[in-house]
Structures are given as structure tokens and as C-alpha cells.
Symmetry: D2
Subunit: 440 residues, 4 copies
């Protein structure tokens, strides 16, 4: 975790205090279940539950627990020891029949669902902002580019609608990935429930808002986590895509949009052109980082037999790093889009800089529809298009075509002008917006 | 694609003939829609549809199309030229208002759904075999191992049930990933439907069993494909996990199971122990390969603006390679599990090799339940366990405990024996099987 | 391997015929050594060597060997059987004391060195072209861009010199990687030379131009191959970098350079602006592919004990794919640079489009050197720079500064003009060229 | 960075204090050079150098600098401001003509070389320990395994010698990678030295023990860093390999070696067999993490034009994470090997468990050398080998062969015993050791 790329709520999930709180919840809910089914005395269970209700562990004394761990070399035992000091004899019924992994893996599931919830909220924010700005620029014309080369007109709102559709897909994927890791395992040393009743697992799962893991092997199977981190990697790639779009639009020669830059922002005025898209460049880098969690998460799946512990160190890194970084990146991207400076005049200017060549395809179509052969139509457009091209946009294709007697014989000035009508391209924007937003 | 790691049905999906057939379907269904909505004359559309019905392109003359492409340097134009030679004047209405990507990307979607369907069938086969063998060995005792070290007893069927649960999850993931890439885009040069009605897209989608892409940008957005390949990577990792389990079980010192080896298989008898788990080792390598598609697929997402073509070369490799290899790997794994030689006697022998130390945890529990303190219980077990350990399994923990007067004071021989009862560990196997299979 | 991204010489390395030839070389050189040291009768060794000299296996009948393998299920045995049919009784001395891996791994080393040699030659070609074009444009002014935003002037030749320096580094890395995999192992079943004298290995190594592997374990250790493929991944990333530069320069709004486009090239004239940088986009994709070999190659290192065979399937893919694709990509990049259309006028026009703002830094410096405080200098530059910026490049910073009396009080018109002199920026280009090329 | 997987010396490299110290060195050495060549007044340069000599910035007040950065939003400016407060008017000559990247990138080069030096020392420690233990067990017989199956005898020392050879290669690679990133760039905003003399760069490089970057583009080209992190990835994979070997050897059924476990270590005695190879499992996970830096480092290479800042966030993570984790892992591995508990008796027992089948290959050879046909020899060995195999190691192959009259007709008991002589396999161990260690 790098502090400058983190936000407090997500960071808090990964701090010791939160982890210990979840452990305590798990132990208490397990005791509660054991009391109910008679695995432990009901009154001892009640005492434990009551201690929980009273907020026994508030505040969690992390240094004290760490000090115990420094001696016991075992984090769960350290925690239980510290808790035990705060309880009466009922403490002996804590953790009965359970193994450390029951606590550790279920707690990780809770942390990952908490993280997923923040990320889902981040996505909601981003989707909201994308929607607002998409509608704002629903009909702002701008050139569509394939291969970085002018192709045909689109609207800036359409670009944002496309991003919205992409992040809406990502949200659905993350919801699936969240469900995938939201399981609870309290199944003992090798997953057989030898010393613990499966009903305990079911109860703890219900209390934590998790699903009981159908079958665990001391650990929750890591294909779940692999799927989770792979999904984060896909989301990160979508972030990179939108960030790259902004970076392109902000290039000096394009300058159709810019990351927000407050008028008084220091350091830029002597070189007022030097407004660098540093936020979106940063997002490009952060996307690489989030993606870098995918391969180790995949490599974590093939644990040996009922479990080995090789996954643990990996998760200590990628658990916090991938979620904290993605949270930060989503929020940063939301901010970038929210305040993005959009320059419709420049978009129009760029649209026009080819002297209307972007409409040549439509003229071609109009000529063939007017009865000319494809070859003749092509020749007519070509000879005028080349002149425009060679003029570097100073000549206008429309003017030249009107003045070309062969063209004029086939198409009236009105017909030609119609071929240069931007709104021809936008007639289905509403259809697309309805598909994406359910409204236009 | 490496022939030795491929199967014909999946390979056929990626051959030119199949691609051309799909292109033809797309063009015909598009013409059909255009005829219906009046974009092109109904009778020309009907002629095209009729040609399709008659099987116009059977068989596809791939070399002829390739020869045209060698001249035109454009695959879709080459195909349309070849088709055009087989049609009357209605040929001019083919591909009207469409761009190559409309055909290429929708065809890729069809190929990937075809591939997904094969993979889903592969998973069904694997699940069936896992279920059969899981029930066969539902109560075959074997040692559960954490860290490669004996832990507590499980059953061999439980291991297979766990694999079943994992591959059932993978099936659900693949179904989601299939839905993610099963979209149809017929939206023109920059996705605005400038020259083509969105109803064409809807019709083609319906005819191909796809969903209309809500909004495309000449291309179908690559986050869909990234998710697809990421999912294949997760499945591959699960394959590696099960393959690794078999490799471990087949080790000379463990030998609890073996890849099938026909009695007459040559080359092994002089070294009868030298039956190498080459299939599962191979699967481990193939898993690495399928996973290697994930990162480039993620890197493909951030295309520039409305599209660049950098994704294309990547997909020419990973499209066939990842699906063909995964199909092969799933089938190979199914074969391995189907015919896996399982040695229950050896499993029992390994279970016993520690002289009963795997039951020490339960004895400890029994002693504390009999009223001894945790410390005293521990000391009693420890002094006997160490003797067993030092004997390298020649002494029996049960015998020593019975002979230990302090232990005998707390637990009767029957109680001690109960602690060594394997079936204590298996009492919830039915519960787990019901969770996994819906039956026990 | 995808045929369209392959070249014949590199492809031939990975074809069966080449592999069999190398196997034959290895067997013969081993027999030669065994004859010399008396492991096998000298006259039999001589017969084998003579058969080799006579070109016994020309041409290699690949289908015949494949047919034998279909029966024996073992490639090396199939090959030896086929060879045996062409030899007299001396055939029994072939492969004496050797294991298949001795042949397979040493042959792979030969193939990889052959591949490396082609790649090194590719790099030489690329370096030559980069050098020629760097000198051609040594003093062609163009704007340097940080963050995609105009920064300060550079020359186009400098950009190419920087690429040259990068690929020269890559060449040195590849030479090191080639040395890393150029080893020969003839050490028997577990690398102990139990049944074969180490002198055989030394002899075969010398004859093949390899180094004897100091210690192998049936197989050559895979850290060597991992380093090789990691190095290819770095080279691929450098290709992506230069390809990305070209893609940026070819953008419609920038258009400072273009991939070669023959005047008569069809399909472009109606949309003459639509010259897409498809080669460099393709290179971007190919770079992703070559890189995708790195992770599986790294995962191949940790083979179990003296060897498992999981690496083999991986190498059947990445061996050919990574080298063939990189060879193709290097050649394509060389062609792109060789014929790159460079537009100095456009470069100058882009340089000028900011009205001289790119020189603001130098004016600032000149003012402080003239004795003004940093703050005052900044304010003076700023108030003029903002006017230029707001004019969208129509006003000239130089003109405004000359007309600014406060500025004029500090700097004469000549001094101001000197601050706008492009050649100020190029005074050390010769130094850099000498560092990169050893000459200027 | 995860504290539990870090060591102080490596961590210190990445702390702010070290970074600021290096920045200060760079600024001072640059001023020194500027003074010498007359870019700035010699006496001001001398004052700066003297301040450096006097230890001006000791101790670095990191919070103070951070507080300034919180305002200026620029780290280098914040540092210079803080430094400036400690200097007289000579402070205006600091950083003259330089850009932030000159400081940042050169400082990163210093940090990475410092990190490399620690890693090289780590490798030396590991090599020393591997050598000592290799010689200790040079002739300790153990079974060599291919595919996890017993193959032929090796010695435990040979295994360690092979690891030594691998890590010696890694050391050479790291030395090359260190040289690759040990460059100094002081070349100004776009690498043209427009406002700074190249001699400054040369001087700073020399003072820092770096090489001048032949040509930079504001930044040092990232292919260098990619190569560095790729090399760390290879080393990590070798760690995984050796760690996996230990994990295998410690398996309950194998138990030929164990991670050190102090006799009094608590928690193990009740289950004395439960000594888990947690250190090497942890190393397996850490290897995945170090490797995960490779892909983002490769993706960092293709910065746009003269630079974008996407690499920066990536390096803030992987710079510390990969080096700190690798340092920790190398030290942990060294500790594991240093104190590894090796059980020669168990190795011998495992060697013997197949009843001598591992020698069947040699008997086969002896029979053919005694004149029997390959087929007859095979049949003879086979019929005895199968009996041994079916007895699960209770019968001895040597005994059976002696008792087999057909075998006895060909080979005397002494000849048969010779075929079972372990030392036959070890006759070239000295050769191998000499190759690896230069001595035997």
C-alpha cells in the first residue's frame, strides 16, 4: 500500500483493528451457535454474546495483541489470549473445535466483501458522473477516430455512454465476484467438521451475511479469490481505457478536453499550454498495478492437498494493494470525469480540419444511390478529396464538389449539403442512450 | 495451436471454413433484416436468403478466397468478392452500410460462444466423472494433509467432491463469461448506426443467438473478451490444482493413486515403479499456457479512441490457443479422473504409518472433556506421542495410551479406541455431499 | 504460430526436419566422442560419423518418423528406430548411456541459439536503419512532448538515436540471454553421468558450439530459459515503445510521420486522410504476445526434484511463438522505420502552433540571468504567455515580449530572439550522437 | 511492503530520508561540476560542497519537507525549499538548468543499485551456505526423482550443488541488471542538455558510481528497469524451485529433510509429526509476489513520446516491494538451507524401499554387456522386477536376480552386486563439484 494512492475507508478494512473485530464477531457467532445446539453450555455462550453486545473489545488494543503474538508466534492464539483476559471462565468455550483457518479465511471473506462494497459504491459514483456528463454532451459533435485517424462523427456524450456501459458491466462482474468470495468456512482442520457441527458454520455465515462454503479443506478454495482479483484486473483495464481516452484528448494538438485545472493553480501560467494529464497518466500506472495481482492470485489456486500456506503472503500484499489502489483509482477517475473540461469548439474545429473529408464516405453513397457506378462515384470523390487533402484542410470538400460539374450533374447542392450534415450521424444516438441508460 | 494438444471439434471452430460460414450467416441475416425494413429491395434480400438456404457456399473454397485476399489485402472484401461471383445482381445489397468490424467482431463472438459451449460440455463431462468417482470413494479413508504433512483423516471421495464443487463454480463462471462475449455489433464505422438501422443488428443478433451490443465503437468493447479469457485462466488454475493433487498422490512414497496404466503397456515392466504422472504434469504446463492469455487480453482493453487494431493479432493467437488448449486439458483431466487407479489399501497404510499420531488431537480433546486441564492433557499425549514418533511408526499411540496409567485413569480403553475411530471424522460427509451434489 | 506473423527462416527452426537434424548431430557427435574414449568400438563410431558426413538422413522423412512415433508413443525412440533402419549393426552404439532429455534439451538449446542468431541479425538490421534515419534527421526540429503536451524542441533524429540506444541495449541483453541457453547436457537419467562419461558432453558441446552444462538433472535447468524469454519480453516492450511513437506521430492532428503508403495504394484516395498506422498497431499487439511468454517461462523454473515434464508443453508453444513473433515484429519494425514518411514541415508547423510558448522557459532563464528576480521574471513571462495561449497560437510570444516595455527594459530584441533560437536546443546533439553511434 | 516480510537495511533504502540524502548528493555534485566548468560561480559551488561536507542535512527533517510538499504539491521543489532555508544566497545556484526528473531518475538509479548490492550480498550468503552444505553431503546418497517417481541415485550434496550453480547464474544476471540500471541522467526537460552541460552529468555519474545515460528523454529509458525487475523475477523463480524441493523432502512420507525446528519449540510435541515446512511455503508465495512486478515493469517501457508519468506509480510499489521481498526471501532461504535438518538414514531407507528396483536399468545394461540380447535382458529383469514391485518392497531385486538361474548364467553374484553399488553413480560427482565450485 502506498499512502498517496489510498483512501481511508478502504485502508481501514485492512488495518489490524478491523481484522480483530471480525475475528471477535466470528468467535462470538460461533459460540452463539454452539450454545444453541448444545455443543457448549448455553449460559457460557450467553455470557460471550453479552460481552460482544457490550462492546468488550472496544477499543481493540492492537499493540497488546501484537505483543502477545511476538511471543506465541501465532496471531489467532494471541488474539484469543488477549480476549481471554477480558472474559471469565466462559473463555474456554471460545474457538471450540475450530482451527485458525476457520477464523482467518472467514475474516478474509468479510474483508473482501467490505472492500467489494466500497468498490461497488465507487462504481455507482462513477456511473452517476458518466451518465450526467453523457447527457450533457449527448449531441456535442466530435470526430470519431479509428487508428487515431479521423473516421466519422460521433458525439462526446456517446463516448461517455460507452464508458458507462462498460463500467455497468464491470459492476455486474464485481457483484458476481463479491458473491464468489462471500463464503464462510467453519469446518475444522481438514474440512470434515470432525469436531464442529456444520450448523455452527451456517449460523456464523448467516450472521455475517455470508454463504456457507459448501466444502472447504481447512481453507476456502482459492479459485474464488482468483476470480475476485481477475475481476479487479478487468475493471482496472477499463479504467486504463477511459484514462487513455482523456490523455489522447488532452494532447496539445487535439485538446478537446482537459483534466480540471483551477484558474489560479500555480506553476502553469508561464507555460499555460503545459497542463499535463497527470491524473489519467497516473491511472494508467495504477491500472497496471491492480492487474499485477491477477497472476499471483491465479498461481495461488493450486495449493497442495488440503492446504499449504503459500497463498497467505501473496494475499497479505494483494488483498490490501489491489483493493485500495482500485478504490483510489475509481475515485480519481470519477473526479476526472466529473470536472473534465470539455471544449466543444475545439472538437468542432478538429472535425473541420480535414475540410470535410470525413464526409467523403457519405458522398460516395449518395452518388451510387443517385445511380452512378461504384467506380465512377469513387473517381469523382477521389479527385476532389485529394485536392482537399493536399491543401491541408484549407479547401472545403463541399465547395469543390459543388463546383465539380460531374458531381453537380448527379447531386444538387442541397443533396450535397445533406451529405455533410452532422446530424445524419446522430439520428440513432437516442436509441443508443435508451439502451445504455434506459432513457434518452 | 500445437496439434498434439488439440481436439478436432474445437479446432474446427477456428478454421477458415467455419469463420467464412459465420460471415456468410451474418451477411445473409443482415440482408434479410434490411429487406424487411426496406433498406434494400425485398426481392433481392429474398434471393440472398434463398441462396443461403440452398447452401450456396458449400463447400467453402478457402484457397480461392485466400487467393483473392492475397490481391486485395483485405479478408472481408476477398470473401465478399468470392461470394459475389456466386450471386446475381443482388450481390450489391450485401454488406450495405456495414463495416468489416461488424462482420469480424460478431463472427468472433459466435466463435467464442461455440468454443464456450464445447468447454461447458467438457465441464459437464468432468463433473459427471468427478461425481461418479466421489460417490465410489465417499467413505474411502485417506489422510488429509496440510503443508504436505499428515493432518487428520478425510475420505478420497471428499477430495473429489471438493473438486466437483470447484468445477461447478467454474461452470457458472464460464456461463457468465459466455454471456459476456455473446453480443452482436452491426453499428457501422464508429458505432453510430449512421448508415445502418439498429434493427438490422437486433435481427442478426436474434438469428445468431446473440444479444445486441448496447453500444459499440466499430468494435465490440474488449472488456468482454478480457473477462472471458480471465475466466479461462481461473478454470486452468483449477485444473492445475487437481492435476497437482494427482501428481502428489502418485509419488513413489505416497502412491495412493495413479494415472491409468494398462497392464500391457510397454516399457514399464523392468522398472514397474516408473509409472510417471505425465498426463497431470502435462496438465500443469497446459494450465500455465491458458493462463498466459489473461494478461494480453487485459492489455487489449485500452484500445485508442473508437478502435485501434492492436487487439487483432493478440486474438488470432489467444482465441484459438486458449480455447483449444483448455478443451484438450479438460478432456484429458476427465480421462485421468475417470480411469484413475485408486489404492485404498495404500491410503490406509499411509494413514497408519504415523502409529496413530493423527488422532492425537482427538485424544487431547477427550482428556480435557474428561476433566483434565489443557496443560495436563497435553503433557500426557505428548509423552506418548514422542515415543511413537521416535519409533518411526512402529509403536502404536493407542497401545501406549492404554498402557499409560495416568491416561487410563481418565479414559477407558473403549473411550480411547473411540478417539481412534476413523468414522468419527466422516459423520458429516453426507452433509457435505448433499451440499455439493444435492444428494448423499 | 500464426502464419501471417511468421517468416520462413525462423519458422524452419521449429519444424520437425530441423529438430531431427539436430538430434542426429547430437547422436553422431556423442558416438564420435564415445569412440574416441573407448566407450564404444572406434570402427562403429567411425561408421556413424561417416554416415553423418555422407548426409545419411537427407532428406528427413518426417512422416515416416511420425508414423513410428504414433506406435511407440516416444519421439526419440521413433527417431532412433528410423535412423537405425538406415544404419548397419553400428546402430546399437547410438544413444548409449544417454536419456531422451540429453537429446531433447540439447536440441532445444541449439534451436534457441539458432533463433537468437536470427533475432540478433534482426536487431542489427534495425540498428542500421535507425542509425541511417537518425543521421538523416539529426537536425530536423520537432517538438519534444512530455505527458503528450508540448515541452521543448528536440530533433527527430534524436528520437531515432534514442531508439537506437535502446535496441543496442537489447542486443547486448540478447547476447547474454543467448549465452545463457547455449548449453549442452549429456548427463544421463539424473545428471550423474552414471552411464556416460562427461567427456562425451564436452565433445558434443564443442561440436555444436555450446557450453557444457555444469550440472544438469536429466534436464537443463529452466532458469536459463526463463531468462531467455524474459529478455524477449523486454525487447518486445521496446518494440511497443517505438511503435507507439509512430502511432502518435501519425495521428490526424499530429501527422509528423506516417507508415509508408505507396502513392498508388488502392482504397485510400477517397479518404486520403485515412492512412492508418496498422503496422505499428499490429506491433503493439505482437509485443503483448511475446511478453505473454514471460510468465509461463518463469513458472516453468520450479520443476519438481530432478525434473517433471510440465515445462515441455509450455515450451512447445512459447519456443516457436515467442521467437517467430519477435522475428516478424523486428523485421516489420525495421521496415516501418526504413520507409517511414517523415514530414519536417508539419513538425515545424506543430512546433510553431503554440506561438512560441515552448520557449517560455528559456525567456524566464534569460530574464533571471539579466538580473530580475525569479518572481518578477515569472510574472512578465506569464502575462504575455497567457495572451498567446488564449489566442490559440495566433499571437506570437516573441512579438508580445518585444512589445512589453518591462521585458524590453531587461532584454534587447536580439537577446529575446536568441531565446527563441531552436538551435540553442541542439548544441549538444553531436555529443549525444557520439555517445550513441561513436560518431556525429 | 508488508513489514513481516522485510528487513531493515533494504527497507531503509526506500525510506524518505535515504531518498532525500541522494537528492542532496545529486544537487551538490551537480553544483560542484557547474562550479568547475563555470556555469555557476566557483565560490557559490564551493559553499554548497562545503555544506554537504559538513553534513548540512543531518538529520533529514522528513516531516518538515513533507509539510512543504503538502503546500507546493511538488516533492523536489519542497526538498529544495527546505534545503534553501539552510543555505545562504548560494542556494539560487542549486538545481540550475535541471528538471525534477534529473534528480528523481538518478536517485532511483542509486536506490536500485543500493538494493542490488544488498541482493548481491544476499546471494553471496546463500551461495556460501549452499557450498558448505553441498560439501557436507557430497556423498550422502539419496534417490533422484523424475516425475516425483524414484529414478536413480544421486547425492544430497549434488542437489545443493545444482542449486548453487543456479544461484551463481542468478548472481551474474543480477550484476548485469545492476549495471543496466546504474545510469545517471542530468539532461534537462527533453534530454537535449539545452540548459545544462553534459559534463555535469558525467561528473555526477562519476561521483555516484554510475554511468552517464547515453541519451535520456527527461527520463531514463524504462527498458533498463524492465530488465532489472525481470531479472528479479527469474531469481524469485529459482527461490521457488529450491523451496519446492524442501517442501517435497519434508512431506510426511518422504521426510528426508526438514526445516529447522528447535527441540523445545512449543506446540509440536503432541503432534510431533506436524512440523510444517512453513518457511518454504512462504517462500513459494513470496516468489509469486516478486514475479508479479515483471509484467507492470514491462508495461512501463512504452511511455509516450519523451515521457509520461504512468511509470511512476508503478515504481512506487514495485521498487520497494520487489526488492524488499526478494531480500527477505533470499535471507529466509539462506536460513532454511543453513539449518536444514538432513536425514541420511531416511534417504537410505527411501532409496531401499523399492527393493532395489532403482538399479534395474543398470542390471539391464550389465546383461546386454554380458552378451544377451536387449529383449532377453529385458524379460529377465522384468520377471524379477515385477515380483519386487508386487511385494511393495519386501522382496529384494538383488536376491531374486541371484536366485534366477537364467540371470545367474550371465552374471556372477559379484557382477550383480556391482550393479547395485551406489557408488557407481557417484564416480563423477567430483567432476561436477569441480565444475560448480572449482574444487572437489
Amino acid at each position: 500500500m502506498v499512502p498517496r494512492y489510498s483512501r481511508p475507508a478502504m485502508t481501514a478494512i485492512w488495518q489490524s483493528e478491523n481484522r480483530f473485530r471480525i475475528w471477535w464477531d466470528i468467535e462470538v457467532f460461533a459460540a452463539e451457535a454452539m450454545g444453541e445446539i448444545g455443543m457448549i453450555p448455553a449460559e457460557d455462550a450467553a455470557r460471550i454474546v453479552e460481552a460482544h453486545r457490550r462492546g468488550l473489545i472496544n477499543p481493540v488494543d492492537v499493540p497488546a495483541i501484537d505483543a502477545i503474538e511476538a511471543v506465541t508466534k501465532h496471531d489467532v492464539i494471541a488474539f484469543l489470549t488477549w480476549i481471554g483476559e477480558r472474559l471469565g471462565p466462559e473463555k474456554r468455550y471460545l474457538h471450540q473445535g475450530m482451527t485458525s483457518s476457520d477464523v482467518l479465511d472467514t475474516a478474509l471473506a468479510v474483508q473482501l466483501t467490505q472492500a467489494a462494497d466500497i468498490l461497488l459504491a465507487d462504481l455507482d459514483e462513477l456511473l452517476k458522473v458518466l451518465e450526467r456528463r453523457a447527457f450533457e454532451h449527448k449531441l456535442t459533435p466530435t470526430i470519431g477516430r479509428s487508428h487515431g485517424i479521423h473516421a466519422e462523427p460521433v458525439t462526446f456524450g456517446l463516448k461517455l455512454a460507452q464508458a458507462h456501459a462498460e463500467f455497468a458491466r464491470n459492476k455486474a462482474r464485481l457483484e458476481a465476484a463479491r458473491a464468489d468470495i462471500a463464503t464462510c468456512a467453519i469446518s475444522g482442520a481438514v474440512g470434515t467438521f470432525a469436531n464442529i457441527d456444520p450448523r455452527v458454520e451456517e449460523h456464523v455465515a448467516a450472521r455475517l451475511g455470508l454463504t456457507p462454503e459448501p466444502t472447504s479443506t481447512q481453507v476456502i478454495p482459492r479459485d474464488r479469490h482468483a476470480m475476485f482479483f481477475a475481476t479487479l484486473g478487468v475493471i482496472a483495464s477499463s479504467i486504463e481505457r477511459l484514462a487513455t481516452e482523456v490523455r489522447h484528448l488532452q494532447r496539445t494538438e487535439v485538446l478537446e478536453a482537459e483534466e480540471y485545472f483551477s484558474p489560479g493553480q500555480k506553476g502553469s501560467s508561464a507555460m499555460p499550454h503545459k497542463r499535463n494529464p497527470v491524473l489519467t497518466e497516473n491511472l494508467t500506472g495504477l491500472a497496471r498495478l491492480v492487474r499485477s495481482a491477477v497472476v499471483p492470485a491465479l498461481e495461488n489456486v493450486a495449493l497442495w492437498h488440503e492446504r499449504d500456506i503459500s497463498h497467505s503472503s501473496v494475499e497479505r500484499f494483494i488483498g490490501p494493494d489491489a483493493t485500495i489502489t482500485l478504490d483510489f483509482a475509481l475515485a480519481r477517475l470519477t473526479g476526472v470525469i466529473d470536472k473534465l473540461l470539455v471544449y466543444p469548439e475545439r472538437m468542432q474545429k478538429n472535425l473541420d480540419r480535414m475540410g470535410g473529408l470525413v464526409h467523403s464516405q457519405r458522398v460516395l453513397l449518395a452518388l451510387t444511390q443517385a445511380g452512378l457506378s461504384r467506380e465512377d462515384s469513387y473517381a469523382l470523390v477521389q479527385r476532389n478529396a485529394m485536392k482537399v487533402w493536399e491543401s491541408d484542410g484549407r479547401l472545403s470538400l463541399l465547395d469543390l464538389l459543388k463546383a465539380d460539374t460531374d458531381v453537380a450533374a448527379a447531386l444538387s447542392p442541397e443533396q450535397l449539403e445533406a451529405s455533410f450534415d452532422l446530424h445524419y450521424h446522430f439520428k440513432h444516438i437516442d436509441t443508443i442512450f435508451r439502451r445504455v441508460f434506459g432513457r434518452a
